[in-house]
Symmetry: C2
Subunit: 353 residues, 2 copies
DNA sequence: TCAGCGCAATGAGACGTCTCATTTTTATGC
DNA sequence: GCATAAAAATGAGACGTCTCATTGCGCTGA
């Protein structure tokens, strides 16, 4: 149906080898032959069959990226950066969604393997599940670069944000506003970067001379209901209530905020709030949410660079470990200097309801 | 490197044909041989080479989707639905981003053609540019289903929302709140669905007995600056100012809102506001924005169904034209009954600044 | 004129799979 | 035990491309 090189050869009156040489530019061809072939290409509207080429060359010029949930805005932005870098270097990018399930993640990787892709970016769905064996299985067929979420204690190429430093920056900011009782609500702590962010939280408190208390570290998840329960318990308790809340990721942060609003608490009146990731970047929405903004495009872009490095310049050699800095965008949810009296008065009213 | 059927055959002690039959299930194989082959597959960790299979069968089981901007939240949601439907039917989905450029769009389609995909969903970047010739070029190699944005006057398979009806619903809602001076800010009117949405706007006004005025129809775009200029001009003019604004898409709507807030106008105090698409779905952000919510997942899902129908059951036959209903989510940006006095007083204050 | 050289062009073969015509094995009935 | 039919297994060939060893050709200098 679609024209082949053989047909081009017949039309141009040259051999199939010459046609191939014109198309791939892999050998010298006389100007006369070249023109005849190009003309034939034009006439037949020929397009090389990448399938056949891949079979012969054993190269697909295709990369993959697996993310846990493409509808979380964080990931499309990363994908954009990755796709851009891939295209610039002449590679395709296949996007797959593991829907947060390690099983589906393995399926996706198997599919990519069957498609003979040359490398993959992985934002893993599994945290602790990513054991050495699983990692070996995942990365046995092609290079894999981890993105955002890192497997614990494995020596792999990765690109992520300086989670610890960013969290520390956020907490320091809250402390400068007068807060001492700062709670943190986390996602699943099986994820390495969640741990790092908690570490940054602790570190900032320590530097500020405030002891980190267990009752202020709320081990949450990505589940709306679970986060709601935890946050409501923590915020409405009679004593030892935090004046500020830090969420270690956007999904959890949104769930926390949603749940607290639903019981009548709001930020910044009742608690200061800072979250990793942008929830609503638009400054005219109230409350404006102070956020740690990750360099999403760059993360995707750099990750592809690391991956192609690995693909094109050897499998061995030191793993690249890239940590990009994040920035803090201060908005009203955290910008007020703490006033303990006013806030505890308001809270009493809320509790009466 | 990766094991092949030939190696399986040798290990299992059967012929390559038998191995193939076991793997593809295309012919009867004795239980004994089947077990031997399965065992060999297990031992060698064999995975079929889809490249080679595709070359032989001329089928890739791969579909494509091209969207104008993956970072607009609307599209990932569609992609999710499409990916889900594709996977259920055993197809891959390659996601590409045309970045709103018709040229890049053509490149992407060429790439997909070279990859020998079997069909494609297209949210076209070009509006008026999508002439019959261009369409023929795009769809000459495989079936194409248009999504969301439709080419004008072409008989194609498509899935979109009932744009006209949804817009009509939004405007009727505003009229029920007492508004008569309702402006509409559009995206590029080269896009067919933008036209449809304006048509719905006109239709609602007509049904309500209000003449549509040219000064109330603001022909905008996706560009922040252009939308800002238009909206600020329209909203700050001395007389004939609209009391309500309807945006025909989320990108334009966000730009409009941003620009009006930046000059001190806000909704719902100074103007009622309704937009196509969700800008911030979270109900605790103020102002809550009344929005037309499209069934994004379903759109993607249905589009794949239509596409696979076309692929698996013949290229000919009537084009499927699917229009899904959208819903209106009323929030505070439009929920107040119009009070002309209050609003004009506020406006004067704003203009003085 | 012709050997020697270098550039062009050639076309067979391979990549891993599936298909299908053919051969071999097994089962059945007498 | 043998003829026959049915079932199973076989392996060569093709898909479209690239590669590479070989051939063809024109030019140079002796």
């Amino acid at each position: 149906m679609l024209p082949t090189q053989k047909e081009l050869a017949k039309l141009a009156g040259v051999s199939s080898g010459t046609v191939s040489n014109v198309i791939s530019g892999s050998a010298r061809v006389s100007e006369r032959s070249r023109q005849k072939v190009l003309e034939a290409i034009r006439i037949l509207n020929y397009q090389p069959n990448l399938i056949a080429r891949s079979l012969k060359t054993n190269r697909t010029k295709t990369l993959g990226i697996v993310v846990p949930d493409i509808t979380i805005p964080f990931f499309p932005k990363i994908i954009r950066g990755a796709e851009c870098a891939a295209r610039e270097r002449g590679y395709f990018l296949i996007v797959l969604d593991s829907e947060g399930s390690p099983n589906r993640e393995s399926e996706m990787v198997a599919l990519l393997r069957a498609q003979r892709i040359e490398g993959m970016l992985l934002v893993t769905a599994s945290g602790e599940d990513l054991t050495t064996e699983r990692w070996t299985a995942l990365s046995s067929s092609f290079p894999v670069v981890c993105l955002d979420r890192l497997p614990a204690d494995l020596d792999v190429d990765f690109v992520c944000v300086d989670d610890c430093g960013a969290a520390e920056m956020a907490i320091s900011h809250l402390m400068r506003c007068g807060h001492r009782d700062i709670a943190v609500i986390t996602g699943p702590l099986t994820l390495r970067n969640e741990q790092e962010r908690v570490r940054g939280y602790r570190q900032a408190l320590q530097k500020g001379g405030v002891p980190a208390r267990r009752t202020m570290i709320w081990n949450g998840s990505f589940e709306q209901d679970e986060v709601a329960r935890i946050c409501q318990n923590g915020m409405l308790r009679p004593s030892g209530r935090p004046t500020a809340l830090f969420a270690t990721n956007g999904v959890t942060g949104l769930a926390a905020l949603r749940s607290l609003y639903s019981v009548g608490l709001s930020t910044p009146q009742d608690f200061a709030f800072v979250t990793f990731d942008e929830i609503a970047a638009e400054d005219f929405f109230r409350p404006g949410i102070t956020s740690i903004v990750q360099p999403t495009f760059d993360m995707g872009y750099r990750a592809i660079e690391v991956l192609l490095n690995r693909i094109e310049h050897g499998k061995n050699g030191r793993r690249e470990k890239v940590r990009l800095p994040a920035t803090l965008t201060v908005r009203e949810s955290s910008s007020m200097i703490l006033n303990l009296n006013a806030s505890s008065k308001r809270l009493k009213k809320v509790r009466k309801h």
